[in-house]
Symmetry: C2
DNA sequence: TTGAAAGCGCTAACAC
DNA sequence: GTGTTAGCGCTTTCAA
């Protein structure tokens, strides 16, 4: 393999502009103590030569690598990927994060780590040592993993905790779970439903509780009972089927169900079909997350959109702001989720008990 | 911001093992000229201290950055991403490539560049200068962009060309388009179809021609006519609708249609529904790519799976092999595509003319 | 406000 | 087979 072609370095720019390396460095990094005229001259040389700093060299001397690490759960991510059921979490994260990174001259690197495993620490340490990222984005269920958060804190690496209230010292971001569940429930109430069932998510995820609480808040505010209307699920299709079965068996008068994710909502839809219940006439269904799968369901599903891209994008901004020593928001940053109305919700055909 | 915590460097390992830096370096890189016993001793120090080389430092001195760049078309990728229709190309690329990279200690970085734009060169140069990647993965429509391929050649960076026959000096990989189209057509012929329509893809993509040729080859081999059975599409849903309309108007006796991608196949399905044609009884449909959208169609669509993950994975392997000076395959590497049988294909109800 | 010198962690080239 | 030296491209520190 021939040697890499000689690239334009800071030296070439310095020579071209007739200044010291240091002055060029100051211009690149937008530092103070450069006269406008000098800055202008250097910038012209940079443009003329098409100079771009090497991030490897920048990292070697300085404190920035211009790399942000996005961590996801290995098992779950690979599973979704293999299944090809249309879960686009990673896709949305990548693009939301990547585009924002690009604005600031950063790059996003994805890494998978095992959650239920003592390798976490070793894996994360290795990634940190190899890449020395300027920041890390944690997603559930890693967001509140003390092993991870304390390791990052010890290394002084700013990190975002998506779907976390912020225990652990990172930058917490929440995808509007509570409000979205509340509004979705309210939407059903406005349509005339009063017996509204809820299928919860896995208790391993904090957001499961928030979603449940949002449903409950809306029900309480409307003075509607919730007893026996909540059923435990774990985000899998199977658990959705089981939960929906129990729910409908116990409460024949249920006219609407809010499921804590798309898979469980799709399972509910299928069960309704099997039981001869028309959707939405006999049963309204709202799903959480709005992955592409629910778009193609029959009928297309009314869903709460999980703003994964917007949240990742915001996480990148906050990490970079933190790096720059800027003031960060006090509490968790809440990125609002929206309700997308489609065909799986309508006024109830029968009046519920 | 406090200074980054002191990390374990090659010096610590050298001191711990009582050898020179160079010997440690040799062990890390699995080079020759280290006695097994010495290698063992150094390895123990590495393990004990939890040493991981800094890729920034490795890049600074050596010739490897352990970074591979995956390039996609900006416009198309952002469009798909925003649409959230379930195109999982990026997702499959990322995971297929990332996991393979991880096996070799590499990382994959995604970058979007404009195709129809004189910025291509500037953008790519910037990415190369900043990251100095060890390899680049090109996807259509970049794969045969001379501006890009010549730039990479000039920089001596090995690059994979997915969906290309290899003009430009890179490593060509093909996702079995020709054979897959042939086999899918054959499958329809075996079912008893003889009037089999084909909707082509955009001529901007070489693979469009391969897919068309595969259909034609199967038809020819079976002695079936193809006149008037091919209609031009451009991969959009709209073009699929138009093409299917023409096809069915001109050939009422068509009993099966093979569409060059999923969106056009879905458009064909919808048109069939509007015209009161039952699928698959009156019209069999096979789609190309097998993105998640076709899974949820009614009926679920028989599709040719595009092996994006496997191809990206292979691309990474070949790039790394090339870096190591290993012998590469002669012609294009063909990653076979498979036919996934679902509900949109069956024996024709009527006998075609 | 600018420049010179030192050094980040590692590998290439060469000496032993 | 192993160690020494020089230097990658940049920023930090300190001097001017």
């Amino acid at each position: 393999m021939a040697r890499r072609r000689k690239a334009v370095t800071i030296k070439h720019v310095a020579a071209d502009a007739g200044v010291s390396l240091q002055t060029v460095s100051r211009v690149i990094n937008n530092e103070a103590n450069v006269r406008p005229q000098m800055r202008e001259r250097v910038q012209q040389s940079i443009d003329r030569l098409g100079y771009i700093p090497s991030i490897a060299a920048q990292r070697m001397s300085g404190s920035r690598s211009y790399l942000i690490l996005a961590l996801n759960d290995r098992e779950r991510t690979i599973e979704d990927w293999r299944a090809r059921q249309g879960s686009d979490w990673v896709d949305q994260m990548l693009l939301g994060g990547m585009l924002k990174c690009a604005e600031y001259g950063y790059r996003l690197i994805f890494e998978l780590v095992d959650t239920h495993n003592d390798h976490v620490e070793r894996e994360l340490k290795a990634a940190i040592a190899a890449l020395q990222p300027d920041g890390v984005i944690l997603t559930p269920p890693h967001s509140d993993n003390r092993l991870i958060t304390s390791l990052l804190s010890a290394h002084n690496i700013p990190f975002a905790q998506i779907g976390s209230e912020g225990a652990g010292g990172g930058i917490p971001l929440i995808m509007g779970d509570h409000d979205a569940a509340r509004l979705a429930t309210q939407h059903l109430i406005d349509l005339g439903h009063s017996r509204i069932g809820f299928i919860t998510g896995s208790s391993e995820y904090l957001l499961s509780d928030w979603r449940t609480a949002g449903w409950q808040a809306a029900m309480d505010a409307a003075g509607l009972p919730v007893d026996g209307l909540s059923e435990q699920g774990d985000f899998t299709y199977q658990s959705g089927t089981a939960a929906a079965e129990h729910l409908l068996d116990r409460n024949p008068c249920v006219t609407a169900i809010l499921a804590s994710n798309d898979q469980m909502a799709l399972a509910t839809l299928e069960l309704a079909r099997q039981r001869g219940l028309r959707v939405p006439e006999d049963l309204s269904i709202i799903s959480f997350d709005n992955t592409p799968a629910v778009l193609h369901a029959q009928p297309p599903m009314t869903a709460i959109d999980q703003p994964v891209a917007a949240t990742t994008s915001r996480a990148v901004e906050l990490i970079i702001a933190s790096k720059r020593g800027e003031q960060l928001p006090d509490g968790p940053t809440i990125v609002p989720a929206q309700l997308i109305e489609r065909g799986s919700t309508a006024r109830p055909a029968k009046v519920s008990a």
